[in-house]
């Protein structure tokens, strides 16, 4: 592996780790706050899958970096300007409709992205993707059904779900954009050319929203910046909480 490709792969692994870490953290905020006990348990499984995924990606990044850093150094010792997760992941949990709509957008995204990543020439990334695909298929069953139920449930659930779709839509565009690093990796058969997946994502989302009696928002509004560390104000608070104990006792084992 050439040094530039290695550096790019490292950065890519960190980005995917950041996505999983931040989203897993957000979902874990639902614990003991679910609408009923069965859902509390089920949603915790999704959080666990993402925390596990974060550990795998960060673990691989640590292996590539080979400078003594561990998975936790990536998670706990970087500031929000260094985090490179998609903005969608860091938005607050808000109400249950908001969390499920976000989940749907993300699940469809991974449902398309992971099968491509499985074909990666990088064996580790391919192996992580192979494991994650199964998780995502299950997540998608859940989020799809939830959006259908909430969209076509009561007037209130419909209103909340439509509002969630509208407020999240602007953050979905950057999911399908690539910078030079990702382009280089896609060209070398290591990373996924995510731009090619947008149309299919759009088609699947549209179909589910239509079935859920929800409207597809206009495309005009788009917020971007996650991949260059230009975040919403939410991430700083999330990291403050996440990193507090770890950073208060530097160098300790837990």
């Amino acid at each position: 592996m050439s040094d530039t490709i290695k550096d790019a792969t490292l950065e890519y692994a960190v980005r995917l780790g950041d996505d999983a870490n931040v989203l897993g953290h957000r979902i874990s905020e639902w614990v003991s706050r679910g609408p009923f006990l069965e859902e509390d348990i089920a949603y915790a499984n999704v959080a666990l899958d993402y925390i596990g995924r974060a550990r795998m990606f960060y673990g691989y990044a640590a292996e590539l970096a080979n400078d003594g850093r561990t998975e936790d150094d990536f998670a706990y010792m970087r500031d929000d300007r260094q985090y490179q997760n998609l903005l969608l992941m860091e938005l607050p949990r808000e109400d249950f409709a908001y969390s499920q709509v976000r989940q749907l957008f993300i699940d469809i995204y991974y449902g398309l992205m992971l099968p491509e990543l499985v074909k990666s020439k990088d064996d580790t990334l391919a192996a992580i993707a192979a494991k994650a695909i199964k998780e995502t298929r299950y997540h998608l069953r859940r989020s799809r059904d939830w959006v259908l139920r909430l969209g076509d449930g009561t007037e209130e659930s419909h209103r909340r779900t439509q509002r969630a779709v509208d407020s999240l839509w602007g953050y979905t565009h950057e999911m399908f954009e690539m910078d030079d690093t990702e382009q280089r990796l896609a060209d070398s058969g290591i990373g996924v050319d995510i731009t090619k997946l947008r149309d299919e994502w759009h088609r699947q989302v549209s179909a589910i929203l239509a079935e859920a009696t929800l409207n597809l928002p206009e495309d005009g509004w788009a917020v971007r910046g996650g991949r260059i560390g230009y975040h919403t104000e939410n991430l700083g608070h999330l990291l403050t909480e996440m990193q507090f104990v770890h950073r208060s006792y530097p160098g300790c084992q837990w």
Partner: protein, 318 residues
Amino acid sequence: MSSEQQTSLQEKQFMHKIKAEEKIEPKDWMPEKYRKNLIRQISQHAHSEVIGMQPEGNFLTRAPSLRRKAILLSKIQDEAGHGLYLYSAAETLGISRDEMIEALQSGRAKYASIFNYPALTWADMGAIGWLVDGAAIVNQVSLQRTSYGPYARGMIRICKEESFHQRQGYDIMLTLVNGSPEQKAMAQDSLNRFYWPALMMFGPHDSESAHSAKSMEWKIKRETNDDLRQKFIDQTASQIEFLGLEHPDKELKWNEERGHYDSGEIDWDEFHNVIAGNGHCNRQRLEHHIKAHEEGAWVREALVAYNAKKQAKQTEAA
């Protein structure tokens, strides 16, 4: 046969089953008081699992490593699962989960008082797993032989899953005592705060316990509060020693003759005070539960409405 004779015959048959160590099953005849007593105990147990998610949930988003976060999350999730198994067992007695939740939220039903103590440091995640789950397990192991079938089966499943809870707690403590001086101090502080409340989890002395005698006769409870507490004190002493921490009970002393540790008296005023609602978190725990329940109301309503629409469509199609 008069209905009184009938009842007395049924009661005799019931007691015969109990004495023969046969399980009572949901559709069986049972004395109304047995049913009520069981509902009280099982639902209180279920509520404890569910409310018990909160103190640990309070530290989940601050867990100091990803590995610990995953472990803690799966433990809290297990507690939700155990709450569900227990609600499920209680529902076989003809009470709905709604009614039980309503009783909890209105304060008519209790949950374990230990959860009214605040979780303040990461070491508390260790102490809770080790001591609180440890005390719960001592009780639950005994309840695997309880006379009501669904409760006993729930306990067996719970015990199987819960041994990891105590071990992960002790593992946190071990890591802390072998860490920096601050970490070790954190562990000691946490042990000091949770040791006595953990002993209180076994309830009042047998002589003071309101429900004990009948529960023992009916084999809902299999061992007395004091016997179970003694087991816990005995097993915990060497665990504290192994950690190299100071034992919070200064009067603790091995009694060769009894083959048990003698221990200092629990502060029963504190026990009653916390039960009476004056713990740090009594109100907070219930408010958290009520808030989540209320915020989830529209979701549950949506499910019901969606289901009704779906059924209507199916009827239309048929």
